[in-house]
Symmetry: C2
Subunit: 153 residues, 2 copies
């Protein structure tokens, strides 16, 4: 069994990897994003579900999907809430609520485009590797306004 | 390292647990469903995201959310496709496409209600316990028609 200190360290590392994932998307930096995602043996089943999308499977397809999203998003910012981390051996499962601020429309010299907000429920599964924790599965789903939540009762 | 036979056995057990989850929902059997879900130490962070919903956290809240869904669904049937299983130590991650057939409207002596189809992308995380693999996290997200898929390249 891993000691409490080891578990705390792993949790901190996983949270740092999770933060780096969102920071690289916010920065629109595909190279940084590529280093976050699983490679090598884990590349083939790297899996990504963007809100409202079907699955995208495989490292290259996943990175292409982000390139497409970044190309169509002049602005993206994430405020994470309800972050939980479960570390079990080589796998870590992070759940969080992504509160997303996106830019829509053209950002011109006269002024920026409009901003809109959205919310997505997310699970990120990380895998431990010699080069640290890498993102193996990202699944983000839209919260639809017309569906009643059972959370309160 | 676990041998190939052990891994195959674990994969088969996880798939059986995954099948039992869907069978219990189809049967509308809350007791069966309760025995699929994580209990004990794992109960507090059992997490469920129904398509379009915010997260439901904790075993009791999760089971209540299913009771609500089952009460409002005269008919539910799942056809799973694209099933993948990753077993790493005590955690197993299943991804699948849920092709869902639901009954809408009243089922009367004169005839059944209408059936509608839907599709959801799902990740199910199972945890190994002395009583077998239990469902720890279920995250199912709607595939929205108006979003273009990048799957085809």
């Amino acid at each position: 069994m891993a000691g409490a200190e080891e578990v705390d360290l792993a949790r901190a590392e996983v949270l740092a990897a999770n933060d780096e994932f969102y920071a690289s998307v916010e920065a629109g930096d595909l190279e940084r994003l590529a280093s976050v995602w699983a490679a090598g043996d884990l590349a083939a089943d790297a899996t990504c579900v963007h809100p409202g999308w079907p699955s995208v499977v495989g490292r290259e397809a996943v990175l292409r999907s982000f390139a497409l999203i970044l190309a169509n998003s002049p602005y993206l910012q994430f405020f994470l809430t309800d972050v939980t981390v479960r570390v079990t051996g080589e796998v870590a499962v992070v759940t969080c609520t992504e509160n997303i601020l996106t830019g829509v429309g053209e950002d011109t010299a006269e002024g920026g485009g409009e901003l809109t907000g959205g919310r997505a429920m997310t699970v990120n599964v990380f895998h431990s590797t010699p080069r640290g924790w890498v993102l193996w599965l990202h699944h983000s789903s839209p919260v639809l306004g017309h569906v009643e939540s059972d959370e309160e009762g």
